[in-house]
């Protein structure tokens, strides 16, 4: 009964919000103050060609640290919850030769592509999060092709721990040198070059590794307990 009331209430609320959104937040109109600043001065202030990246890593970098933490949290929690889980063993059939051969050649390519995506985050669309996930998907392919393949938990834990600590240290260096957490303490360089935008590529590389390790860990945990 309580649940029904709750549902009705939610729908009334959402109906109202639909009404007000469609009516008052006019579509396609420039309504921003802060965004204007980012667009006009963003490239000069950060040295990043991709303004979304500048916003994600610098202007709202604190959010991104939180976001990385959320993912870390989910990976840790998943590991903790599935800890010691045992299911009835199912017959494990090795995958076909075609899949495993293809996987052997495609795996390094996907890893390379993922790395490309997170290294070029300040120049092209992409960045640390999709890059890391692409790397994790390479491992997914590996898990599918070679059912016995293992990535050791030690390596994953070490990677995510190191990347996370380096991220925090980068932030603290900004605090020490420029008196502001996550401030850009490296030279900005020429926008458009690979080595530009100060700490942005550095942070995106760390995020790429961290996300890659965490997502691989999630997949590994889900897979492993099938034994």
């Amino acid at each position: 009964m309580i649940k029904k009331v709750l549902i009705i209430l939610l729908f009334v609320l959402l109906g109202l919000s639909l009404y007000s959104v469609v009516k008052y937040n006019t579509f396609g109109k420039d309504k921003t103050v802060v965004a204007r600043h980012y667009i006009d001065y963003g490239m000069k202030e950060t040295g990043s060609q991709n303004i979304v990246t500048a916003v994600v890593v610098l202007y709202r970098g604190f959010d991104t640290l939180g976001e990385v933490t959320v993912l870390f949290l989910a990976a840790t929690a998943l590991g903790a919850l599935l800890h010691g889980l045992r299911f009835k063993s199912k017959e494990k059939e090795p995958s076909s030769l075609i899949v495993s051969t293809a996987a052997r050649y495609i795996f390094p390519l996907i890893i390379l592509f993922g790395t490309y995506v997170f290294v070029h985050g300040h120049l092209t669309p992409g960045g640390g999060f999709p890059g890391g996930v692409i790397i994790a998907s390479a491992f997914l392919l590996l898990f599918l092709a070679y059912t016995q393949k293992e990535v050791s938990e030690k390596t994953l834990s070490l990677t995510e721990g190191t990347a996370g600590i380096l991220y925090v240290i980068t932030g603290l260096l900004g605090l020490v040198m420029l008196n502001s957490f996550l401030a850009n303490f490296l030279p900005k360089g020429i926008p458009g070059k690979l080595l530009s935008a100060g700490i942005i590529p550095l942070i995106y590389i760390l995020i790429g590794f961290k996300v890659g390790a965490e997502m691989t860990g999630v997949l590994r945990n889900l897979k492993e307990e099938e034994k």
Binding site: G28, P125, G127, P130, I134, S137, M215, K223
Partner: protein, 83 residues
Amino acid sequence: MSSIIIIFVSILVLFMLGATIVAWVTKDLLIAVLSSGAISLIASILYLILQAPDVAITEAAIGAGLTTGIFVYVLKKTERFEK
């Protein structure tokens, strides 16, 4: 926005709503998972139309790809059909 794009968008949106309904009514959880993946994929096309390539890539990789993968793993561990 030109009218061709609007028509294209309308079709995509219709597909999206169709997928939502499929996810709602189907008893086969795998189909529900795949339609939720399809919704993510269409959303990522809409993000491209709305000039958000970063988001489109992320949504395609995470929302459509990895999430579906995790769901499928879990379905393998539990049960595929809703009783």
